[in-house]
């Protein structure tokens, strides 16, 4: 059967929209087609939301059933190939554990006792509570924690309402320190997707970044290209990661001492005059002070700190210099480790500056985007009070809001009370450190609304749970990406939601209607919004819907292609010496502080990613769970023998504060240092609704009760917890 044209669908749904609460946000025509026994294969181009990379893909529907999702060859990010999560996206649609209906809490908070209600009841309840909070405490007392592109739709309704406190764990729990370190040095962020030109790098240095396990699609593709092209890879990691197995040099560093290694590297490069002298002279500021400063940090000084032989430090420094400027010291992404993270990232930025790689091929490009105008919304009301996540600029270099700042304010009620939380697409209990603090904050709330696809741990604490459609079932905000090749991509529904799930834009708009904010919604259906923006940019909306992606003209992205070498720092140059840091009482050039040793006999708990899972939200996806059902605890084989543990034994991890993990199997391996253990993040679920994942593996998040706050920007360092291992019984089924 010929599929119905999308234009026709638009007319139908636009006409019927608003007629009922459960109005058609999805193609009625599609629904009819499926009901009539749709035959054959049809495809829809859209972009992925299994992580935040937003790869373009093409979904296939066969005989009315969602079949597979493949990369869109036109998309510069996926380059026609998705990662396992993208390929496994259809599993998110079919997952039996997904949220099906709006839920309102009936039992005590956190007991996961619900009453299924209609959308009208659920949204009515939320609106009523919001009005009450606004009346008593002001609209600013409602905060939102969010993740992903759908954020913008929900933020719109809340901003229209007068809210101002929005934060994503992506800053203070993830890439924040890196962006601050690079801003302080080059005046600009690394961004997302990162502006790293891995494919042209001749020497790639990864510090704790485990590309390949950390499956950021374009980066991994480029990493393989670089490896295939014979680039030298240097990996600094306490664990012999997949990337380390591709490396010429693996430096199994003592955790927490990366900055010592960076200083020693810079010492070698400066004293041996291996740096790009012209580049530094032309663009650098404060190099003399910097050069004098690093004199003290010899490889011999760094050796007892890092455990890396001085000669290896020298050899790797010389190797880096040999390939400059195509030497890329990768800034990483999740870098909240030890509390010195922004300064460590600044060290990485400075090393790149010595290589002259910023703005150069094989280093960092200057991303370009297409010029797409925002939707002409009416101006938002001005919030009565300022944001409260970082009062008095306590963390002077935080340029985004701090989740943990909002949590703290919720707990203390200062500088003003927070009484309502919206949580969108982020499992806060696994994302923020010290779960107990988050739960304590939740107890202070009058309203916790969770919008999610699966019944995550945070949903378990909600007053109202709103089930969102998976991205294969919905429209979303337009993706206007800053990238090496400018492009615009669209998300559009492939198939209707299997139950009573709704897309974020519909939820936001319906909530707005109930809050009396219709005037902020000149559009009724998101396609009108999207068409407005796309045609406003002079692009063909029909073409975008057909292709999924429209690429702009290639623009210069390197200095030698004509990008002006501008550095928006106070000095207008690359700051080897930072006067802003000095002014705020911080070290103008990074200073190394030895890490705190853990309790005797304990192991530092490290965590990371697996290529088939995104955070804690894919463990119930049947396709991805098949690839990795639960995590294992990596333990050095010699340490395991010393503890009398064998590969495959079951243990529980107990942290320094007595918190005991779920049981987990030991991976006794040569692939990790003997002073730390490693868990893949996202397992050890406790939410009852996550039946497939419940009780499988151990949760690193649960063991992260301590965290160290980065004094520059308020990021929470989490690799500061220590565990011991206790034997556990094997589960019955094993």
């Amino acid at each position: 059967m010929e599929r119905l044209s999308r234009r026709r669908f638009l007319k139908i749904s636009a006409a019927t929209f608003g007629a009922a609460t459960a109005a058609a946000h999805l193609p009625d025509a599609l629904r009819a087609a499926a009901a009539q026994g749709e035959k054959g294969v049809r495809t829809v181009a859209t972009f992925c939301e299994m992580c935040f990379w937003r790869c373009g893909g093409i979904a296939h529907v066969r005989d009315g059933k969602l079949w597979k999702f493949e990369g869109n060859p036109k998309d510069p990010q996926s380059r026609g190939r998705l990662c396992p999560r993208g390929t496994g996206a259809v599993g998110a649609y079919y997952a039996r554990d997904r949220l099906q209906k709006p839920l309102v809490r009936v039992g005590a908070r956190g007991k996961e006792q619900w009453k299924a209600v209609t959308w009208d009841e659920a949204l009515g309840y939320v609106a009523e509570r919001m009005q009450k909070i606004k009346a008593e405490h002001g609209a600013e007392a409602i905060a939102m924690f969010n993740h992903g592109i759908g954020v913008r739709m929900l933020q719109h309704v809340l901003k229209s309402y007068g809210c101002t406190n929005f934060a994503g764990p992506s800053f203070a729990q993830c890439r924040g320190p890196r962006d601050v370190g690079f801003r302080l040095t080059f005046g600009e962020d690394v961004g997302s997707p990162e502006r790293t030109d891995i494919e042209n790098a001749r020497c790639l240095v990864l510090i704790g970044s485990h590309l390949g396990e950390n499956m950021h699609n374009t980066q991994v593709q480029e990493f393989s290209d670089a490896v295939g092209a014979g680039a030298t890879v240097i990996v600094v990691d306490p664990r012999f990661s997949v990337a380390a197995s591709k490396a010429k040099y693996w430096l199994p560093i003592r955790p927490g001492t990366d900055l010592a290694l960076l200083l020693a590297w810079m010492h070698v490069i400066v004293t041996e005059k291996l740096y790009d002298a012209d580049y530094v002279a032309q663009h650098g500021y404060g190099f003399e002070q910097f050069a004098a400063y690093v004199q003290a940090f010899t490889p011999e000084w760094a050796y007892p700190e890092t455990g890396i032989e001085p000669e290896l430090i020298r050899a790797t420094a010389r190797e880096m210099a040999q390939h400059r400027p195509a030497t890329l010291i990768h800034p990483g992404r999740h870098v909240n480790w030890y509390g010195d993270d922004a300064q460590r990232s600044r060290g990485i930025a400075l090393l790149n500056a010595l290589m002259g790689s910023w703005g150069r091929k094989g280093g960092f490009f200057t991303p370009a985007s297409m010029d797409v105008p925002d939707y002409p919304y009416p101006a938002y009301p001005k919030p009565a009070r300022p944001k409260l996540d970082n009062p008095d600029k306590k963390y002077p270099f935080a340029h985004e809001a701090l989740t943990t700042g909002i949590r703290e304010a919720t707990l203390s009620g200062k500088p003003y009370p927070i009484k309502g939380w919206f949580v969108y697409a982020t499992n806060l209990l696994h994302a923020l450190p010290n779960e107990a603090e988050t739960i304590e904050a939740i107890r202070k709330l009058d309203l916790l609304v969770v919008v999610d696809v699966i019944p995550s741990e945070i949903a378990g604490w909600a007053d109202v749970v709103l089930p969102e459609s998976t991205y294969l079932e919905r429209h979303d905000e337009l993706n206007v990406e800053f990238f090496k090749h400018p492009f615009v991509s669209i998300r559009q529904p492939v198939i209707e939601s299997p139950h009573d799930q709704k897309p974020n834009w519909w939820i936001a708009r319906e909530l707005a209607v109930r809050l009396g904010l219709e005037r902020y919604y000149p559009w009724k259906h998101i396609e009108e919004y999207l068409e407005n923006r796309v045609t406003g940019a002079g692009l063909d909306f029909a073409q975008l819907k057909k292709q999924g992606v429209i690429r702009g003209a290639r623009q210069p992205v390197f200095f030698d292609e004509g990008v002006p070498a501008e550095f928006p720092t106070p000095s207008g140059k690359i700051e080897f010496y930072s006067t802003q840091l000095q002014e705020h009482g911080f070290d103008p050039i990074p200073r190394y502080t030895p890490p705190d040793p853990g309790p005797a006999g304990s192991f530092r708990l490290l965590y990371g990613r697996a290529p088939m899972h995104s955070f804690s939200r894919t463990q119930t996806n049947p396709l991805l769970a098949d690839l990795m059902r639960e995590n294992v605890v990596w333990l050095n084989a010699v340490a395991a023998r010393r503890l009398g543990l064998k590969h495959g034994d079951w243990v529980r991890l107990r942290n320094q504060d007595g918190v005991l993990s779920n049981r987990v199997q030991v991976k006794a391996t040569e692939r990790i240092r003997p002073d730390c253990v490693y868990l893949v993040h996202g397992f050890g679920h406790t939410a009852k609704g996550l039946r497939r994942a419940l009780g499988r593996g151990a949760s690193d998040a649960g063991l992260i009760t301590r965290y160290k706050v980065d004094p520059l920007m308020g990021g929470t360092a989490m690799s500061v917890n220590f565990v011991t291992l206790e034997p556990a019984d094997a589960p019955q089924e094993a």
Partner: protein, 347 residues
Amino acid sequence: MIETTIHRQNPMIDPAFHAWGWEIPVYLFLGGLVAGLMILSGYHIIRALWDKDRAHGHYVTAPILSLALLTVGMGALFLDLEHKLYVWRLYLTFEVTSPMSWGSWILLLVYPALAASALLTLPQTFPKLARRLPFCSRCAGALHDCPRVVQAIGFANMLLGVMLGIYTGILLSTLSARPLWNSALLGPLFLFSGLSTGAATIHLLAHVRRPDSGSDDFSDAVLSALVNWLRPPAPGHVGTQKLEHADNSFLTVELLLLGLFIVGLLSSTEVHQRAVELILTGPYAAAFWVLVVGCGIVLPLTLQFLQAQHRIRSTVVPALLVIGGSLALRIVIVAAGQASAWTVASH
């Protein structure tokens, strides 16, 4: 130091290969037993032609018993099949390289051969039943009137018995991915194990159904058999003595073949050495040495030797041990064979 991690969790395959449970060992055991019985009873049928006086009554139940045991064995095999409704596919083709295909066609020939010998012995085995089935009796009579046909039936039983016995071993040995089974000696080993088990079974039958029990009524026969179980066997009975001799010869050959089987694998590649270590010193060693070698071969061999020397009283114990040992041999070889592999994964 080699760490191998295989990210695969297929049922029956991971973490260790285990596709066959109790059904296949039971099938192989019963197949081997029937093979032994066919050879012995076939031999007896032929010898009875020349020397009617020396024909012993206890052989005559073997064909009917074989039919029953083989059917049970086939039932076990059928239970093991995962795609049962398609079993008829076996008989739409003959796959020359597949021992299973050979086996299924051999089994198709075994049934008529057994049926013929059962028919031949029916009047002798169950006279009352035979009288109720006059057609069968007439056929049996007619067969007895043609010594050449009787001889052919005897030879057919012997030949098919040998094929069946060897097949049960070769079936495993061609599955080359399991190094423990990579020896054609499994064929003769299982054949001689089948012969010793067959002799032991006839020995048992001799106890169950004595010529002096006199009754030709089926129910009487069953009742008297039960009583006979409890009585010591008639001393120095000429038939059972011969059986003990035969059984000892078979057991000796079986022991020899088992030794050669082990030596063969030990003198092969590292993979095969590691495989045979599973039964020599590994997780299957206790079962192998105690149940298969000790109780299944050496002990009955010794007991029967002493019985033959009249140093101890003759009992059914050796026969029971041989049967038990024979089953244990199949269970151990099938289980350890599945555990043996070309690749060794740490998990």
